[in-house]
């Protein structure tokens, strides 16, 4: 059952890449690595789902290899890729070159660590053991895995150093270093606190790839308070403007008052009721109408 859903996902990713114009930069390296590793993890998962094989390799290193291929392939590589993808946006700096080396270190280290575990599992090495008899013939594969683990650690160090170095000395990224089509790349890198001077209106799925003549922005929002535009649900037509709360001490006070109740209830339960009453006072202060807001509405 899992194989059907996961298989569909993989074909969707392939279709997305197929229909796109791929730029082989660091994030794409991690995405390709993710698909490669995750497919291998998925295939060994299909094997594990068949009872005869599961009887043989249950609770062995084959299982360890399988789920590391799934987890590291499915979660860690995409996370690294996402970090490299949005790092230019949140720092304004980009450094592509070391990122690719970083990918290769992690990719080689990962496969060197976990691929031999498939073989170890087939040779009968059980999981959750810290040592084994010398005559089992598992030494070489385990030694490879140990070397691989050291390489993964090196990859982690390179990743951290690269992030620090790129932040300090990387090339200036500009608003859209990847020529992406989505709106987060329309604003400066790093974005200002207000994100956009004028709210952009999306006229297509990839607004930045549309003809600049087609681009639309929203004007007329107040810039002296926190105001958002609310659109209709289905057609996204501008409907009204909503004013969000301004800075206020009351949320903090409410937190403190609630904490008094919970910390107190450790010692005596009646503090729980006192805390609830205090929190109620905090909420009341928080939501009590302010004259300034009233005057506007």
């Amino acid at each position: 059952m899992i194989a059907i859903a996961s298989g569909t996902q993989i074909f969707c990713w392939i279709a997305t890449m197929w229909s796109g114009r791929i730029k082989m930069r660091t994030p794409m390296y991690f995405v390709c690595g993710f698909i490669f590793i995750f497919v291998l993890g998925g295939l060994s998962g299909v094997l594990l789902a068949s009872v005869p094989l599961d009887l043989q390799v249950h609770d062995t290193f084959f299982v360890v290899a399988h789920f590391h291929y799934v987890l590291i392939g499915g979660a860690l590589f995409p996370l690294f890729g996402a970090f490299y993808h949005w790092f230019p946006k949140f720092t304004g700096r980009v450094d592509d070159w070391i990122g690719k080396i970083n990918f290769w270190i992690l990719f080689v280290g990962f496969n060197l660590t976990f691929f031999p575990m498939h073989l170890l599992g087939l040779k009968g090495m059980t999981r959750r053991v810290y040592t084994y008899p010398a005559e089992m013939g598992w030494e070489h594969a385990n030694a490879l895995a140990t070397v691989g683990a050291a390489i993964i650690a090196l990859g982690g160090i390179v990743f951290i150093l690269n992030a620090v170095n790129s932040y300090r000395h990387g090339d200036v990224a500009g608003a859209n270093p990847w020529d992406s089509g989505t709106l987060e790349w329309a604003t400066a890198s790093p974005p200002a606190h207000y994100n956009f001077v004028n709210l952009p209106a999306a006229t297509s799925r990839y607004p930045l790839w549309t003809d600049p003549k087609e681009r639309v922005v929203v004007t007329g929002m107040c810039d002296d308070r926190r105001e958002i535009l609310v659109t209709t649900l289905m057609d996204a037509e501008p409907h009204h403007r909503a004013v969000l709360p301004a800075a206020s001490i009351w949320p903090f006070l409410t937190t403190v008052l609630t904490s008094i109740g919970f910390v107190g209830s450790i010692f005596q339960f009646s503090w729980y009721y006192i805390g609830m009453a205090l929190a109620f006072v905090g909420l009341l202060g928080w939501f009590w109408p302010r004259k300034s807001v009233e005057a506007e509405s």
Partner: protein
């Protein structure tokens, strides 16, 4: 991003009292989350019943249906108060909002008192086995919701009485009615389970 065209929204109203408001949707989603809690409790109720031969277990009386059924009358009529208040909120009619909320609050209080009478007649409490625990849990959660919304309604009524009739308060009145409809609707299956469940599925297996 350089743009050739712009959409001017300066003429649009500030705030809105309708189902377009984000708060309205927030309240609706809150109701969904809360409803899933109640349905989990309902599932627990019937799951626990499977472990017992008799329901309620020996020593626990059958529920008294009378006061709880009587309580349904003010509860259902109180929806009228919510409806009047939310319609008045759309028209910025302060008197109508206060009338609706006041009617709602009086009927909700009547309902809660009748529930108290019904609850008082239980000869078991939350420590009396799994039956007592699950019935009390359902009653407690629904009562907490009810009382919370009554406090919310009372505060709105106070704000209106003090002359705060801004769009935020009116939207508050409007979403208050959403929450109250939810409290009424969710009580109906809970009422059937707690008060009629033992009569319907209670016979020894």
């Amino acid at each position: 991003m350089t743009a050739q065209r712009s959409i001017d929204v300066a003429h649009l109203p500030i705030g809105d009292v309708s189902d377009q408001a984000p708060l309205w949707w927030g309240q609706l989603i809150l109701a969904f989350i809360e409803a899933s809690m109640f349905f989990i409790l309902l599932a627990m109720y019937f799951y626990i019943r499977l472990s017992y031969d008799m329901w309620p277990p020996p020593g626990v009386q059958l529920p008294h249906v009378g006061p709880a059924t009587l309580a349904l009358v003010p509860l259902i009529v109180s929806a009228l108060g919510s409806y009047l208040a939310s319609e008045a909120a759309k028209k910025n009619d302060r008197g109508g909002m206060m009338l609706g909320l006041g009617l709602n609050l009086i009927l909700a209080t009547t309902f809660t008192v009748l529930r108290g009478v019904s609850w008082y007649s239980f000869n078991f409490n939350w420590k009396t086995g799994a039956y007592g625990s699950i019935v009390w849990a359902i009653m407690w959660l629904h009562t907490v919701d009810t009382v919370a919304d009554m406090i919310f309604t009372a505060i709105l009524l106070l704000l209106l009485a003090l002359g705060y009739t801004g769009v935020k308060q009116r939207l508050g009145v409007h979403v208050d009615s959403i929450l109250w409809y939810f409290i009424i609707l969710i009580w109906l299956p809970l009422y059937v389970a707690i008060y009629w469940g033992p009569y319907i599925v209670g016979a020894p297996k």
